[in-house]
Symmetry: none
Subunit: 170 residues, 4 copies
DNA sequence: CATGAATGAGGTTTCATTCAT
DNA sequence: GATGAATGAAACCTCATTCAT
C-alpha cells in the first residue's frame, strides 16, 4: 500500500495545483480531495492542514524551477543565454496562484538551493561580460516572483525588453 | 444629510482599503464596517454586495493613478520623464491587494480614461525620440499591473533597469 | 431588538444546560442552537466559542448557588443550619455535568464571591460552637464539588453522615 | 504467539489508561494505539470498538480495587480498619477519568465480586461494633464512586471526617 | 496477524447577506 | 436611514471504523 499512498499523494498535489489555479489559493479542501479522487480524510492524513499543502505545493514548484534551470544550462551555449531561457520558460509556465503562494509560504530550503544554482550562473555570466555587473541574483528572483504571479500577461515583446535591461550591452 | 452620506461612503472605502491591505481581499465585511465606524447595514446600503465594494475600490484606485499621472506631467520636463516618474510613483505607492483586485474586477471606464491619457504621453515620448517606437501603452499597463501587485518588492536599482528597456537608448 | 437578543441569550443558556445534562459536556453546538430555537450563527454571536458558553454556564451556576445560600440564610435559624441546608439543596439540585465543568472552567470571580459568603457563615458557625473549628470553607467547597458531579447518587441517608463529620458533636 | 498477544493487550490497556487520564475519556483511538506501539488495526482486533476498550479498562480497575482490598484485609487488624484503609488507598490512587467511566460503563460481574467482598467486611465490622449498623456497603460504593472521580481533591483532613460519619462512635 | 491508509459522517466555526427595530 | 441581530450555507478539521496489503 506504500505505492498506493504515494500515488494518492501525487494525485492530491496535482488536484491542488489545478484547483488553486482555477479557484484561487483558498479553493475548498473538499474540492481538492474530490478532484484527486480521495476522501477529505486522506488529504488531511497527508497534509495536516492547508498550510502544509501549500508548503508542499511551493516546494514542488521550486523543484520544477530547478529542473527548468538545469535543462536551460544543458541546452544553451553560455550562462547568460541559460539564464534568459530559464526566465522565459519559467514565466511562461508559471502557475500564477502557486507562484504567489510561494512568496508567502515559500519553501525556504528548496528556494535556497535554487538561489545557489542561479548565483553560480550569474557570476559566470558576469565573468563572461554578458551580464551587467550591477545586476544580482536577487534581481532575477524578484523578476521571477513578480512575473510568475501573472501567467500569460507577459507579451512576447515585453520580457525581452526587461531582460535587455540586465544585459551588458545596455 | 448628503454630506453625511458622502462622508460615510468615504470612510467605508478607506476602511476597506486598510482592511484588505492587512487581511487580504476577503476581509470580512463586518470588520470593514466596524473600522469605518458604521454598522454592516450601512455598508450594504452603500454597496449592495462585496463585488460593488471592490469595484468602487478599483475605480478609486484608478483615479488615484490618474491624479499621479497629472502631477507627473505637471512636474516633469517632457513626456518620457513624466511616464517614468509616474511608473515609479505608482509602483511605490501601490496597494498590492487592491491592484491585484483591479486586475480581476477592473473598473472598465476609469481604466479606459487612464489608458487614453497614457496613450497621448506615449505618442509624445515616441515623437520626441525618447521612447522606443516598438513599446506601447499596453506594455506600460502590464508593467503597472505586474509590479503594483508586489508593493515594496521592487528594489530601487531594479525598476530603472526595466524602464531602460523601454528607453530609446537601448 | 435588545429585548429579543436578551431573550435569545437566556434561551440559549437554558438549552445548553439541558443539552449538556443529557448528552454531556460536548453536546453539539448545533443541537443546542436548535433547542434554543435559533440558528448556530446566533449562538456564536453570543458565545464566540464553546469555551465561552461553558464559562457563562459556570457563572450562572455559581450564581444559582449563591441565591440558594441566601435563601438558606434567610430560612434557617443559625449559621450551621444554613450551611447544612445549603449543601443539601445544592447537592440535590446539582446538574452533574455543569458542576463538573465548573471544576475545569470555573468562573473565578463568581466563585470568589461565593467563597466569601460561605466564609462568613463558617466563621459564625464555628463561633456558635456548632461547627468543628478544624473544618474550613475549603472543605465545604470540596464537598460541593465532589457531590455535585453526581446528581442523584447521594442517598438521603448518606449526606447527613458526611455533614455530621463536620459537626461539633462528632 | 499467545504471549505476544497478551503483551499487546496489556500495553494497549496501559496506553489507554494513560491517554485517557491526560486527554479525557474520548482520547483518540489512534493516539492510544501509537502509545501502545501498535497500529490501530491491532487495537481494533483486541477491542472491537471503544466501548469494549472502556469495559476492559473498567474491569481492570475493579480488579485493582479488589487487590487493594485484599491487601488491606491482610495488613489491618480488623474489618473496619481494613475498610478505612481500603477507602483511603482507593481514593488516593484513583484515576479520575477511569473511575468516572466505570460509573457509566461499569463491569457488572467484576463489580459484583467487589461488592460481595466488601459486604462480608461490612457485616464483620458491624458485628465488631465498629461500624454503624445503619451504614451499608452501598454507602461505601457511593463514597468510592464519588471521590474516585476527583483524584487529588480530597485533602488529608477531609476524608477522615467523612469516614468518621460511618463510624460507630459518631 | 499486524499495519496504517482510506473513508466519510459529524462537529466547529465563519461570514455574506437579510431584515426587524 | 442606521443599526446590529439572525440566519444558514459552506469551509475546516477530527476521528471511529473498515479494509487492502
Amino acid at each position: 500500500m506504500r505505492a498506493d499512498a504515494r500515488r494518492n499523494r501525487d494525485r492530491i498535489l496535482e488536484a491542488a495545483r489545478d484547483a488553486m489555479a482555477e479557484r484561487g489559493m483558498d479553493a475548498p479542501m473538499e474540492l481538492i480531495a474530490r478532484r484527486a479522487g480521495v476522501g477529505v480524510g486522506t488529504l488531511y492524513r497527508r497534509f495536516p492542514d492547508r498550510g502544509a499543502l501549500l508548503a508542499a505545493l511551493a516546494e514542488q514548484y521550486v523543484h520544477e524551477l530547478m529542473d527548468a534551470l538545469d535543462r536551460a544550462v544543458a541546452a544553451e551555449p553560455d550562462a547568460w543565454a541559460a539564464i534568459r531561457a530559464f526566465v522565459f520558460h519559467s514565466v511562461e509556465k508559471s502557475r500564477g496562484a502557486i507562484a504567489a503562494a510561494l512568496a508567502g509560504t515559500s519553501a525556504p530550503q528548496a528556494r535556497q538551493a535554487l538561489v545557489q544554482r542561479l548565483d553560480e550562473l550569474v557570476r559566470q555570466a558576469q565573468a563572461d561580460g554578458a551580464m551587467r555587473p550591477d545586476a544580482s541574483t536577487g534581481d532575477l528572483m524578484v523578476l521571477l516572483k513578480v512575473f510568475a504571479c501573472h501567467p500569460g500577461v507577459v507579451p512576447e515583446r515585453f520580457l525581452p525588453l526587461v531582460l535587455d535591461g540586465l544585459d551588458r550591452r545596455s
